[in-house]
């Protein structure tokens, strides 16, 4: 971190270096949460369409049983996190800042925690890559770093684009969190085995494990576990937020830049989180679907911060009680302090992407009041994407969303560096989230309008057609009447007259 490194250019020029608050939670040994009585498992814990329930209320399930199946190409199944009875399928408050309802399956635990029948694979590396993808998908493994993108979909993408390098993300740059740190320290062999399975699944030649230099024990453990495998390298990266962001880690480790609007796989790399790799290991070697994860419990309002192994669907309140509550939390956060979301209340469940639950005391939750922008440019220097946050925010403030989009608003990764460094404490990220949401709503409306336009045109065409048909029919009736009259008069139907009438009525419409 010295001046020398800065001059040599190894120190990234972007990002921030917040106070990490990782200890003592990171050094406390991993504990297991006593089984909660009730688990609420949301049907959407991943990017993509929500899963579809395959169980009925009152049904008994075993731990690991499929309770909701994937729905569509990008989706993931959901499994029972413990054995028990399905007590409800309905709406609960989502772990989402909006506090809006979301569908979930509620399981009342029977306390036995009995596993269903598992199908372990002795040597996953001997399986066909497609089979690994299939089993990973069936186990409901999604990106556990927070993005929650279905892992198997990424495997297939990597295989199709012939990705050569697997990057394993052990950055964990978010302050307070140490779930990945803990898994690398305690389960390094599982992580390394998992990443070798992932490499096999995508056909990668090498794997780079990037770990921030503030986790020396994790680095040692991972180096020891990976020592036997020459194509797995553990690389130390500077501790700098947001090092754990895909694009920044790829740039730091390989020097490659992912072009805007392109996927990492297109430049020959694929990023998976260390916890995801461990989950792949469990899915293949043990046949266990993703039903539990390590969650960091941290924050000033807790007495015993640390990492716990908790079933998916555990209500946050159970976790907090387990960690001991010092005072009423001033703010509850799911995830890290930089990108995490505020929880509306403590009864919401944890999901697959929940790397931490933070209970902030009043001092930690104090938000300085926002002032006017003084154009100091701190945000511009901190932005890891090289954007101009102040310019975008001032345009959004003046309702010029297109102007902000013209400054590459869509490239913003929402890391929060700009807001963190802002001396005026302007909620820049919220401006960008608002604008992104509003722009996508507009885009949706635009598509809808195009559909409406088509429908209106179809209706106009239909009305025209009907009018024409009516006119034709009227003309025909008239002609027939005339014909009958003529026939009554002369006895011979005047055939030519009928031929002449039809085209004139056609043009009249």
């Amino acid at each position: 971190m010295g001046i020398l490194e800065k001059i040599l250019g190894r120190h990234p020029h972007w990002g921030v270096h917040p106070d990490d608050h990782k200890r003592p939670a990171a050094d406390a040994p991993l504990r297991s949460l006593p089984l909660p009585e009730v688990l609420r498992v949301p049907l959407q814990q991943h990017v993509g369409s929500p899963a579809r329930p395959v169980v009925l209320v009152g049904e008994r399930v075993l731990k690991g049983d499929l309770i909701a199946e994937p729905n569509g190409n990008i989706s993931a199944p959901v499994h029972a996190p413990t054995s028990g009875r399905i007590s409800a399928i309905g709406e609960i408050t989502a772990p989402h800042p909006s506090g809006l309802p979301q569908l979930a399956i509620t399981i009342t635990a029977d306390g036995a925690d009995t596993w269903c029948e598992r199908q372990p694979v002795a040597d996953p590396l001997a399986l066909a890559p497609e089979e690994i993808s299939r089993r990973t998908a069936a186990a409901g493994v999604v990106g556990l770093g927070g993005a929650t993108f279905p892992a198997a979909v990424k495997f297939n993408l990597g295989r199709r684009l012939r990705v050569g390098t697997l990057i394993v993300n052990g950055g964990e740059c978010e302050p307070y969190l140490s779930a990945d740190d803990r898994i690398m320290r305690d389960r390094a062999t599982e992580v390394v085995d998992g990443l070798r399975i992932v490499m096999h699944a995508i056909g990668a030649r090498e794997a780079l494990v990037g770990i921030e230099d503030n986790k020396p024990q994790a680095i040692t453990a991972m180096r020891a576990a990976a020592a036997a495998f020459g194509h797995v390298q553990v690389r130390v990266v500077p501790a700098r937020y947001p090092m754990g962001s895909d694009k920044q880690l790829i740039q730091t480790l390989t020097g490659k830049e992912v072009p805007a609007d392109a996927r990492a796989a297109e430049v020959g790399v694929l990023v998976h989180n260390v916890s995801t790799c461990a989950a792949v290991h469990r899915a293949l070697r043990h046949g266990e679907p993703l039903v539990e994860r390590i969650v960091t419990l941290n924050g000033g309002a807790l007495t015993r911060p640390g990492n716990v192994l908790a079933p998916i669907g555990t209500p946050v309140v159970d976790l907090l009680r387990f960690a001991g509550i010092r005072e009423r939390p001033a703010r509850l956060i799911l995830g890290g302090p930089m990108m995490g979301i505020v929880l509306p209340h403590a009864r919401v469940p944890i999901v697959k992407g929940a790397s931490g639950v933070l209970a902030f005391d009043a001092a930690e939750a104090r938000t300085p009041a926002a002032g006017p922008c003084i154009r100091c440019g701190s945000c511009t220097r901190a932005c890891p994407m090289g954007l101009l946050p102040l310019e975008m925010a001032s345009r959004i403030d003046a309702d010029d969303l297109d102007g902000a989009a013209g400054l590459a608003l869509s490239d913003c990764i929402g890391c929060g560096c700009c807001t963190y460094v802002c001396p005026s404490h302007i909620p820049l990220v919220q401006y960008f989230s608002y604008a992104k949401g509003e722009l996508s709503t507009r885009e949706r409306n635009r598509l809808r309008e195009a559909a409406t336009r088509r429908l209106a045109e179809e209706r106009a065409a239909r009305l025209q057609r009907e009018a024409r048909e009516k006119a034709v029919a009227a003309a025909r009736r008239k002609a027939e009447r005339a014909a009958t009259k003529a026939a009554a008069g002369a006895g011979v139907p005047p055939l030519r007259e009928r031929v002449v009438v039809t085209p004139t009525s056609e043009t009249a419409t």
């Binding site: 006017p372 001032s394 345009r395 403030d397 003046a398 010029d400």
Partner: protein, 205 residues
């Protein structure tokens, strides 16, 4: 050559047509909402002024002076300028429809832009040579474009500022223009000749 360059510089900066001579204020306030249209307006005006300077020089020297028709000067100059503007309008409408729409009414209004007539009349009044009047016209237009572009940039930023309601709109724009004028006072008396007393303009009284 150096003389022409200095003439260009002094007409553009020292005797700036907008901020010092206060000519062409209508487009200066009207087409300075955004930088793209300001640049377009500036280029169109540059074209018109330079062309008008050439045309009016010819008019002056080949028609008005030989036949002693000095009293027709303003009338005939306006005629020529109007025709030039019409021509420019057609060219812009054909080649840059977006700019044509952005400039809107201000494009035909270049006809009545006093900067154009003013510069043309000044060149006639000062009895400049052909090349000199061309440079003078081009320099003035360049100064006009520069100031218009700078002012548009400032106003773009002003549009994002939280201006008090009492000053929002035209008032703050005029204050801004006055401050810009204040800044341009720094060029006052700029002189590259040996003696520092002259104000640098060849037309300085």
């Amino acid at each position: 050559m150096t003389a022409y360059f200095l003439l260009l510089l002094t007409t553009a900066l020292v005797n700036n047509v907008v901020l010092v001579k206060f000519l062409g204020l209508c487009p200066f306030m009207g087409v300075s909402r955004n930088m793209d249209s300001a640049l377009g307006m500036g280029l169109a005006t540059t074209f018109v002024i330079t062309l008008a300077c050439a045309a009016t020089w010819m008019l002056e020297h080949w028609l008005l002076m030989p036949f002693d028709l000095g009293y027709l000067r303003i009338l005939s100059f306006i005629l020529v300028i109007a025709a030039t503007v019409q021509f420019v309008e057609m060219v812009v409408g054909k080649s840059a429809p977006a700019l044509y729409q952005a400039l809107g009414i201000y494009l035909p209004l270049i006809t009545t832009n006093c900067a154009v007539l003013g510069v043309a009349l000044l060149t006639a009044q000062e009895r400049m040579g052909f090349l000199q009047s061309l440079v003078y016209g081009f320099g003035s237009a360049l100064g006009f474009t520069l100031v218009l572009l700078v002012f548009a940039g400032l106003r773009e930023r002003l549009a994002l500022a939280r201006v008090p309601a009492a000053f929002a709109g035209a008032p703050v724009s005029f204050i801004l223009a006055s401050l810009l004028s204040l800044a341009f006072m720094g060029f006052a008396g700029l002189s590259f000749s040996q003696e520092t007393s002259s104000c640098g303009s060849p037309f300085c009284p």
